[in-house]
């Protein structure tokens, strides 16, 4: 009698459709808003014109087209990539560590990137004329190095290689790297402002360069997390039981941490340490739809991108002509929003 009966919990098409529409709407809003406003219909028309075999006459001036495609669009696309990646990484970390407070910076990626960026800013002035910009590279290497250090430390603990020892190792590594970073920052106080600005995060772009730099990393990591997401559900019953269900928990955890960290390191390298996205987006999805990672991961990717585009609009327009650091916006609108979600949801955050 149950033949052909669908799964009781699954990724409904209207969830995906709704989240994809939210992302599209956010992107259109993101390129509309600015000192020179562009009508939404013209934005959509101009976007459609870029598709093959479609030609829409938008009536946009050449200058408006340039603003749309060379200034605003790269920034909005970068926001989508960063928001999606941080949300997917946050969901992955919460899954593999069975810890609702886990975020992409848990194992020292944030502290490592901060230290790398501080070194690059404080001592990188002599690198003018280098082929590559040392700042993103230093942040990228710092983030990967921090997590690698935490993993080595956590996995050489004699008492056992559990997810808890790994988290504690991450806390120790993060504290150590943050202390080093603070020390450097205080010593080189003339670069303090720049370092501080980087840490709070920014989506300032110069054309499409940053987007092209991070896109390959983000795509690979998002695909990896997406196709393996069912395994996060298996890990949620604990390592012993997960092992008896036919997977190797330690290996699965490592693979997720590698992809989540690689993607996080790439986006942090170009955008700084944007906080809260990795925690509030997956939890909001979880509370609104389902706790299964089969649902949480894809919806977090779509809505994480939308959330960061909206946060960036606020960062740009709230105190024009100045900009609020995006990390401040994600916290200021993210925290109260999340409080409302928590209060109105029936479920409990696990």
């Amino acid at each position: 009698m149950n033949a052909g009966r669908p799964s009781a919990t699954r990724l409904h098409w209207w969830w995906v459709g709704g989240a994809a529409f939210a992302l599209f709407a956010a992107v259109v809003a993101g390129v509309m808003v600015g000192p020179i406003s562009i009508a939404p219909i013209d934005v959509i028309g101009s976007m459609a014109s870029r598709l093959p075999f479609i030609d829409v006459d938008t009536g946009l001036t050449e200058r408006s087209e340039a603003i749309l495609w060379e200034i605003r669009m790269p920034r909005v696309v970068l926001a989508v990539l960063v928001g999606s990646m941080l949300s997917a990484a946050g969901a992955s970390y919460q899954g593999v560590f069975r810890n609702p407070l886990a975020d992409p910076y848990l194992l020292g990626a944030g502290a490592g990137a901060g230290l790398g960026a501080t070194i690059a800013i404080a001592y990188g002035s002599s690198t003018v004329g280098w082929i590559i910009d040392p700042l993103p590279l230093a942040a990228f290497v710092g983030a990967l190095g921090g997590v690698a250090l935490a993993y080595v430390l956590g996995y050489t603990v004699r008492s056992g290689r559990t997810s808890v020892t790994l988290i504690l190792a991450g806390v120790a590594v993060a504290a150590f790297l943050t202390a080093l970073q603070t020390f450097l920052q205080q010593r080189e106080s003339d670069t303090l402002r720049e370092v501080y600005g980087w840490i709070l995060g920014s989506l300032n772009t110069a054309g499409w360069d940053e987007v092209l730099l991070v896109t390959p990393y983000v795509l690979v990591c998002l695909v990896a997390v997406l196709v393996g997401r069912r395994l996060l559900d298996v890990l949620s019953v604990g390592d012993t039981e997960a092992g008896t269900l036919g997977i190797r928990p330690g290996r699965i955890r490592l693979i997720f941490v590698i992809f989540a960290t690689l993607g996080t390191a790439a986006v942090v390298a170009v955008s700084g340490l944007i906080g809260f996205v990795g925690i509030i987006v997956p939890h909001t999805v979880r509370l609104a739809t389902s706790a299964s990672y089969r649902v949480v991961v894809p919806l977090s990717i779509l809505l994480g991108g939308a959330f960061l585009v909206v946060a960036d609009i606020i960062a740009r327009v709230a105190v024009t002509p100045a900009e609020i650091p995006i990390g401040v916006v994600t916290a200021i609108i993210g925290a109260p929003f999340f409080a409302v979600v928590l209060r109105t949801s029936k479920g409990v955050v696990s």
Binding site: S7, A8, R230, V234, S236, E241, G246, R294
Partner: protein
Amino acid sequence: MTSALEFSNIEASFGDTKVLHGVTVGVRGGGWLGVVGPNGAGKSTLLRTIAGSISYGGSVLADGQPIENLSHRERAKIVAYVPQRPLYPQGMAVFDYVLLGRTPYLGTLASESREDVAAVWGSLEALHLVDFASRDVATLSGGETQRVSLARVLAQNAPIVVLDEATASLDVAAQHEVLELIDHLRASRGMTVITAIHDLTAAAQFCEKVMLLDDGRSVGAGTASEVLTEERLGSVFEPSIRVIDVDGSTVIVSLRTEESSS
């Protein structure tokens, strides 16, 4: 499909403390082995060797084949395991929890097929849980969660089922219901069941074979009437244990004596 299971000379240690000293016991395919003994006797450790979650000496044989040689996935197709205190993730739907039983049949990157979904519905139906499919697994009562665990075991479709204290936290009626369910599934599907069990009366009434474990050593294996004698239980537990017959059923109780009440 039934599979016999045999523990052959199992030894295990935690640090420098040896907790199992060469335990050997077997159960026929489709049988029910109950492992009884005091707290700390090594019951859970013995069962966890089957789960592959600890390192041990000796061998566990399923139909004569050592399971140590199997991959995690192959082992999971033969043995299903429910620990003493399973983790029921908050917010996870009963359906999703039972679906985890299909893990060994899914490729690492595959998602569930129509057959997997049908197997989950079938398991939910067998345990009268169809109406619970969308409920949060963390909000269920003790008896309901035990049924959910059994549904996951059924979905896993392994011929050998290991239950560590399946009924420890249940009231008398719920315990009886769960044990009857296990026995029904065993009889109807030919599952081989191995349980650690504290309740000696339940062990005597449900288990076809009983092993009494004391301090990491087997001090007797056989039918309940052979193993669970006053003399043996008296030396392993306490002297005041009585084995009595109530309407043809064995009941094992500990009496309060003058000595212990004063």
